[in-house]
Structures are given as C-alpha cells and as structure tokens.
Amino acid sequence: MTFRGTPKGPGAGSMQALYAQLLVGLINGSFYALLSLGLAVIFGMLNIINFAHGALYMMGAFVAYFLLNLGGINYWWALLLAPIIVGIFGMILERTMLKFLTGLDHLYGLLLTFGIALIVQGVFQNYFGSSGLPYAIPDQLKGGMNLGFMFLPIYRGWVVVFSLVVCLATWFLIEKTQLGAYLRAATENPTLVRAFGINVPRMITLTYGLGVGLAALAGVLSAPINQVRPLMGADLIIVVFAVVVIGGMGSIMGSIITGFALGVIEGLTKYFYPEASNTVVFVLMVLVLLVKPTGLTGRAA
C-alpha cells in the first residue's frame, strides 16, 4: 500500500492540494526509484528478476522495528544497519539458492524468488498478522515547514532528498568508478572478466547484497510513513515492476528517472483525475510496451 495523501483536506482542489499530491508523488517515486534501481542492478548482474524484492523491502522495515523495540537502536542506526542485515540475508539466499540458476531460463529465477517472497511474507504474517505496527518519526525530523505555497512535513522532504542522494550515489558507483566498470563489464562478459583475475562469483553475491540493501533502505524510510506490515512490499512491488518495465530492465539512470517520474505522474493523476490514479502506471506500461518493448531506456532482456 503506497501512501495515498489526504486529497480531501482543507483546500482540496486548490493549488495547495496540487502541491500536496506532487509531494506524495515524489515520496512514492522515491520508493519506486530505490526499489527499481535495486531490481535493475540485480537483473543486470544476475539476470534474475527478483520477485523477492518486495519481501526484502518489508524485512528492512521490520528490522528497523526490531532494532528500535528490542534493542533500543534508533532510526539513524537502522538506516545503516537494516540494509546491512537484510543485505547479508540476501547474500545467503544468493549463495545457497540463486547461484544455481546461472544460465537457466528467467522463469526459474522468477519462480524461485516468488516462492522466497511468499515464504518470507508468510512467516511474518504468521507472527505479526496483517495489521500495521507503528514506527515513530525520529525526533529530529518531526514537524513541518511552511514553504509559503504549501506545508511540508519535514520527514517527507527528508525521504525525497535522501532517496535521491542514495540513487545518485549508486548511479555514480556503477557508472563512474573502477568497481562499477568491473560490474558493467561482468554484466556483458563474466567469463572474460573472471579471466582477467576478478572473482566474479563473489562480485555477483555482493551485487545481490547491494540491490537487496537498497530495498531494505527503502523499507526503513517507509516505516514511519506507511507503518510496518508483512504485506507492505507485496502491494508496492506490483507497481515497481510496472516502473521497471517502463524504464527498461538493466538501465541504472533509466530506473531512477522513471521511478521518480511515475511517482509524480501518479500524484498528478490523483489531483486531476483521482479515479485513474491506481491504474495510470499500468496504462503507461501498456503504451510503452506497444511502442518500445524494451522499455524507454532499456536493452533487450
């Protein structure tokens, strides 16, 4: 369930409401971007469509919840620790299961990760039910700012800015550093990169950890906004897959831009034609697939 905003507040239909929906769109866009970025990174390197992504996003939020309620570890540490903990969980999945899918049809990876998602979600549902657990906004980010044209809750502004920074940092890592060059090269020709002396299997494991870590980070960011629920990822991931299809699998900048853009488009639709706001992403997906089957920025999958 994505954040729906408050379309019927005072001033609905006014400019204020438009800005409010834009902000909601940007926040949803932040989650779309972080999640589709992770999917793109994983698909590029492992050639696996990671259906477990939503469950791992949910795990990120739950780890933050546990850290706070069992360990007294605050939000700021959770931002760092939850992606690491869930990332390690992801790397164990890769080492023990996903790595055996190398060279097989996409369908196998899809079925395996979908199964993992169902198991993980089932386990959490068993212990926590389907209702949400509260996670408080950290003190430093409580309250809001009056920007003159609209009221900006600080936490929401923080989510947008922080997600953007993380997305751009990931883009920089992959497109502009030596490590990223290894990654891009190994996406093209893993055998040759390995014959140059790079431990490609280890790099694949770390890449999966990175993609999963991004999902967990999105989960932590979303915890104070959407509550912590076992199915929070299952609801969101459907839209994220539509975003990935529109942006094109495997393109880093493409998935970032598409993520934010579709969040905004969704927000605007909520303002101008609320009835279509849940379907606009899928309508766009169909249109893009008709015109450019590889997605806006993608290569053939």
């Binding site: 060059a181 090269a185 093209e188 040759l192 014959a195 790079i198």
Partner: protein, 248 residues
C-alpha cells in the same frame, strides 16, 4: 620510466627456463570431447605459435590453460605450479593474460575503462606511456565507446589492456583475424617488441606467413592433439608438411 621495463627484459628472457608445461591435456564442451591429450612446452621469453585448421582445438587449448573450459583433465604447470584445477581468476592472478579471438571489448565501457579494466596482478606491467607509445591510436580515442573503434583498434586495445597487468605470459588468439595487411604488420611489430621486452607469448594463428615473422617455435594441432613441432629455423624444411597439415 619506459626504460626500466626494457632494461629488465634481458634478465627475464635470460632465465629461459620452462614457463608452461602442458601434459596430456583433455577438454570437453558439454558432451563433445575436443582435446585428446595435448603435450607441449613454452620457455620463458619465447614466442610459440599453435598452428592448425579451424576446429583443430587451438582456441580450446588456450581456454583450457586459462581455466575457462568447464571440464578439463591432465596437467598444466605454470612456473612449476599445477593449475589444471584452478579457477580462471586465480590463474590470471598467477600472471597469465588472455586476449580472446573475439577480442572481448566491452561495449558499455569507454576505451579508457576497457584499458584500465584488468586488475594489476603483479609489479612489472608496462606503464601507460609505453603502451601509448606502442599503440598511439588508442591515446587519441580514450573517451570513445569501446565498440566504436575499428577492428584493428579493437585488437590493439585488447592486447594493450593485458600489458598493464604485470602478467608476463600472454596468450593471443588469432590477433590478425580479419585485419588489413598494414594493421597485421603493425601487430607483428608489436609482438616482436613485446618479446624483446621479455614477455613470453603463446600465439594461435591460421596465418602462418604472419606467424613466421614473429614465432620462435611452432606446434601443429589436429583433432585435439599436437601432431608436430619445429623451430623457426626448420620452417623452410617443413613447408611441404605444413601445407598438408593446414590444407593450404
């Protein structure tokens, strides 16, 4: 700094000992048995060429040494260390560099990234200025996308990037394939110069006219076996046999 590598060269070459020893090497692609017991040696500082028809097993021999053929048996010793069971990343780190037949230039990387991609595995690789001295074209095209280069430039880039790494044993798979005569000549000069700098080179070639300008010794591969071997000085005497082997 270019002088240091040149100064070291005679020392490297002078050791002259056995650097690669291949014994009874067999290899499979899935079910098909490609190599049926390959035996040969390469000494330090030599240029050794594997000749043979298409499909004889030359490329598979290089790939088996490099560890990128799934199933292989027998013995491959590099500097007296057994590497038949090592993974290709470990083999590369021992100082063997491979330039594949299809060149393997990465299209999502620019020329600079392609050049800097292989990690340095030990000291003693050629410094960049010396590499640009060998391949001046590359210096001008550093920011081009890898696959925008001409075939000759791609081949140069594929050779250039393995010179940086400090690997002293180079395996070049048909570096002249599909290139214009003037470029082939340039590649020949490069190989001769690399030999002078102390590199040991194992070359796969179909073009033995080209090979004869750079090689010290030849092995002829047929049906996954070495069926003959001779030195460059014996080439003239073996010409008739060679024509039969290669069917030219």
């Amino acid at each position: 700094m270019p002088d240091t590598a040149i100064a070291e060269a005679p020392a490297k070459a002078a050791t002259g000992g056995n650097i690669l020893q291949v014994r009874n090497l067999e290899a499979w692609y899935g079910e098909s048995h490609i190599l049926h017991g390959i035996n040969f040696d390469v000494n330090a500082g030599e240029v050794v060429t594997l000749l043979g028809r298409n499909g004889a097993g030359k490329t598979t021999t290089l790939k088996s040494i490099m560890g990128i053929i799934g199933k292989r048996t027998g013995s491959v010793k590099f500097n007296n260390q057994e590497i038949i069971r090592a993974t290709s990343d470990k083999i590369a780190r021992m100082g063997i560099a491979f330039c594949p037949e299809e060149r393997g230039i990465f299209s999502s990387l620019d020329v600079r990234e392609n050049l800097m991609l292989p990690p340095v595995v030990r000291a003693g690789g050629l410094p960049l200025e010396q590499i640009f001295d060998l391949f001046p074209n590359l210096k001008e095209r550093l920011n081009s996308q890898g696959t925008k280069l001409s075939g000759g430039e791609q081949q140069m880039l594929a050779i250039a990037r393995i010179l940086r790494t400090g690997a002293s044993f180079l395996m070049l798979d048909e570096p002249t394939e599909g290139l214009a005569p003037v470029i082939i000549q340039q590649i020949g000069h490069t190989i001769a110069r690399l030999k002078k700098e102390g590199f040991t080179i194992l070359l796969v070639e179909q073009n033995f006219r080209f090979a004869s300008t750079v090689a010290d010794r030849y092995y002829v591969v047929e049906h996954g076996k070495i069926i003959d071997g001779f030195s460059n000085s014996e080439l003239a005497a073996n010409m008739d046999k060679l024509h039969t082997y290669l069917g030219v």
